[in-house]
């Protein structure tokens, strides 16, 4: 079937059909992104925490803006080349456009990756610590500055991966696995850990179950823990549940019929409350909702914080641990920022002087290195205050300075500030490598100077911890949503443009105008992608 009006315009509209189609699509896209911009404004206005203004590294965002603008120019050049029937030039311009889209996505990927590995934690007093965790060393030793551990010194999980210094240590003497919901990787981790520590995890009591009436299976006391064993028990348990529930329904139906027979005149609704299952007549198969194991000797197992309810010693899959919680600090090998904006905000809400609240924070009271950094920071803030007064003067009416440092400058020590302090220069005069502008601080390169403090945070001080992922706060949630959606548009657009580049020759030879129209339509979408980024860049990076 021939599609009408894809080369020549329709008389009534004056347009070829694909152009109307893409504009219809773009109109819907405008509304879609409009909704997300609305969400951004809503989240920002309603934020109950200090909105992280100008928090992202600007350079990658700036380069990406240039890349998209350049690709917008070349895509329109590619279309113009086709109109002038210059296939060679079209190929060059289109190849450049597709290359730009790849550069954009690679830079975006680097940005995302850095965030997914960057740890943040909000303490009980609302102070925020940012940085990178270390990896656990064997026998619960934590990695300290100045140590150069070998590969074999690190603790590994059952997959052979290094374990971050952010685990809940639970000394366990008994484990009751949830029969239905037990999580296999955790069982495997427990088995591996017990083997490593020469501990035995064995069935605490003999279990007599049945997979069908009269078909008994026995699990002897002392059987070692095994995923297969748990699965067999689960099978028997589920079979028993199914059987028992059928029995109960059958019995209830029988009781109902009996009751109806005895009281033919009674209304169903009157009868219902008095009909119950005759439990004495049931022959249920044994159910086993939890499978008890004992651990001999008691062994420390490690769990991710999100996988364990600490107080109750219950895992997220319902497995219950008996024993005690062992000290489980969260250890930052490198602290690259401390931020008291939230502490100050909370203090102001309570009518407390923010400076007093910060001075009394756990971070400054208990950590000499951070206290030293804070004292340095206060000196820098004073310098900045003076500089602003010298530059912009005082307001004659109120007697207050015309310009004062921002909340961020007042209450946050960022990674560049730590570098400035270590280099012995003032804030803003530090030397930063170009690579660091993209990926954040180069810890290893600066390690000898102790640029970034080491910090061990007791579990009870932690209010909330997350990587810089959507969970950290609503700013990152909307950042990832909007840039993620935009990134998908970049990928989609690039695929279409690459298709014209690599598969367009045949169409160019047979019907060049048709290809030109297609490229125009693809180009319109590409310009729209650029247009969205023109707004995303300032609102996410600069405001």
């Amino acid at each position: 079937m021939e599609i009408p009006y894809i080369v020549t315009p329709r008389k009534d509209t004056g347009l070829f059909n694909s152009k109307i189609a893409i504009w219809l699509f773009l109109a819907s896209e405008v509304m879609l992104f409009g909704g997300f911009f609305s969400a951004y404004i809503f989240l920002r206005l309603g934020a109950d925490f200090p909105w992280p203004e100008r928090t992202l590294p600007v350079l990658p965002g700036l380069i990406n803006t240039f890349v998209l603008i350049a690709s917008s120019v070349t895509v329109v050049f590619a279309w113009a080349s086709l109109k002038m029937r210059q296939w060679g030039k079209f190929q060059i311009y289109m190849a450049f456009t597709v290359l730009c889209s790849m550069v954009f996505m690679v830079l975006k990927g680097i940005e995302y990756n850095v965030k997914f590995h960057h740890q943040a934690v909000r303490l009980k007093d609302y102070a925020v610590v940012e940085g990178h965790l270390g990896y656990e060393l064997k026998d619960g030793v934590h990695l300290e500055h100045g140590h150069e551990p070998k590969e074999e010194d690190f603790e590994l999980d059952h997959n052979g991966k290094k374990i971050e210094e952010n685990v809940i240590n639970y000394e366990t003497s008994q484990i009751a696995f949830n029969t239905v919901r037990f999580h296999k990787p955790w069982v495997e981790e427990i088995i591996a850990r017990a083997a490593e520590k020469n501990a035995k995890v064995t069935l605490a009591s003999k279990l007599e179950l049945a997979t069908a009436p009269g078909k008994t299976v026995v699990f002897e006391e002392g059987t070692p823990l095994d995923v297969k064993l748990l699965e067999s028990v689960k099978e028997a348990h589920l079979a028993a549940r199914k059987h028992n529930s059928k029995e109960r329904i059958k019995n209830l139906e029988l009781q109902w019929d009996k009751a109806k027979e005895a009281n033919p005149d009674k209304d169903d609704r009157e009868l219902a409350p008095n009909v119950a299952i005759d439990t004495t007549a049931l022959k249920p198969m044994p159910e086993q909702p939890a499978i008890p194991f004992k651990v001999d000797p008691a062994t420390v197992f490690r769990f991710k914080p999100r996988d364990v309810k600490e107080d109750a010693g219950t895992l997220r899959d319902g497995t219950a641990l008996t024993g005690k919680l062992v000290e489980s600090p969260m250890v930052f090998h490198y602290v690259d920022a401390i931020d008291f904006r939230h502490t100050a905000m909370k203090a102001e809400e309570k009518g407390v002087d923010p400076e007093v609240a910060i001075e009394n924070s756990w971070l400054l009271k208990e950590n000499a290195e951070l206290r030293e950094a804070w004292e340095w920071h206060k000196g820098e803030v004073a310098k900045l205050e003076k500089k602003l007064i010298d530059g912009y003067g005082m307001d004659k009416k109120t007697g207050k300075p015309n310009r004062v440092p921002t909340e961020t400058e007042r209450y946050r020590i960022g990674w560049k500030d730590f570098v400035a302090k270590a280099n012995g220069v003032g804030r803003g005069e530090e030397k930063i490598d170009l690579k660091e502008e993209f990926t954040g601080p180069n810890y290893d390169g600066r390690k000898e100077k102790h640029t970034f403090p080491h910090l061990s945070i007791p579990r009870e001080q932690i209010q909330f911890a997350s990587k810089f992922a959507p969970a950290w706060n609503t700013y990152y949630a909307i950042y990832f949503t909007m840039t993620g959606l935009h990134g998908l548009h970049v990928i989609g657009g690039a695929l279409v443009l690459a298709y014209y580049l690599f598969c367009g020759k045949k169409m160019y030879l047979s019907n060049p105008e048709w290809l030109a129209n297609r490229v125009e339509v693809g180009g319109l979408f590409w310009h729209f992608v650029d247009l969205v980024w023109i707004f995303l860049f300032p609102i996410l990076y600069l405001m």
């Binding site: 819907s28 405008v30 909704g35 404004i41 809503f42 113009a80 310009h527 707004f535 300032p538 600069l542």
Partner: protein
């Protein structure tokens, strides 16, 4: 829209020029946010930075739409379609007004206890 090869050749110079303006606009956006003496309003980010930043972005976006997307001389139907899209987007952004002036929000009852304006939520 430029359709003849000659007209298109002429238009490419315009496209390049607009591209340069967009580059310049981007640098300006960053400069007004980062360079102290170009900072409008108070020191650091404030509402004037937002207004200025969004104005520059709007100008840039308009150039992309007008020149690169040929909206400066398009057929009427396209204007209708795009116009409806913009109106839709306006209402999407205006959704936040619902959070501020929610017509179906329930504020509870005033207790009527003398001297008390305490609001008791409805259960």
């Amino acid at each position: 829209m430029a359709d003849s090869p000659e007209a298109i050749k002429k238009a490419t110079r315009l496209y390049l020029f607009i591209g340069l303006i967009l580059f310049g606009g981007t640098l300006l956006t960053v400069a007004v946010a980062m360079v102290p003496w170009m900072d409008v309003g108070h020191h650091g980010f404030d509402v004037w930075d937002m207004v200025l930043g969004l104005c520059i972005a709007t100008v840039k976006a308009s150039l992309v739409a007008l020149i690169f997307m040929h909206l400066n001389h398009e057929k009427r139907l396209i204007y209708w379609l795009f116009g409806f899209g913009l109106i839709g987007a306006f209402f999407m952004v205006a959704l936040i007004a619902l959070a501020k002036w929610d017509p179906i929000r329930y504020n509870g009852f005033k207790t009527g206890v003398p001297g008390s304006e305490k609001i008791v939520p409805f259960k």
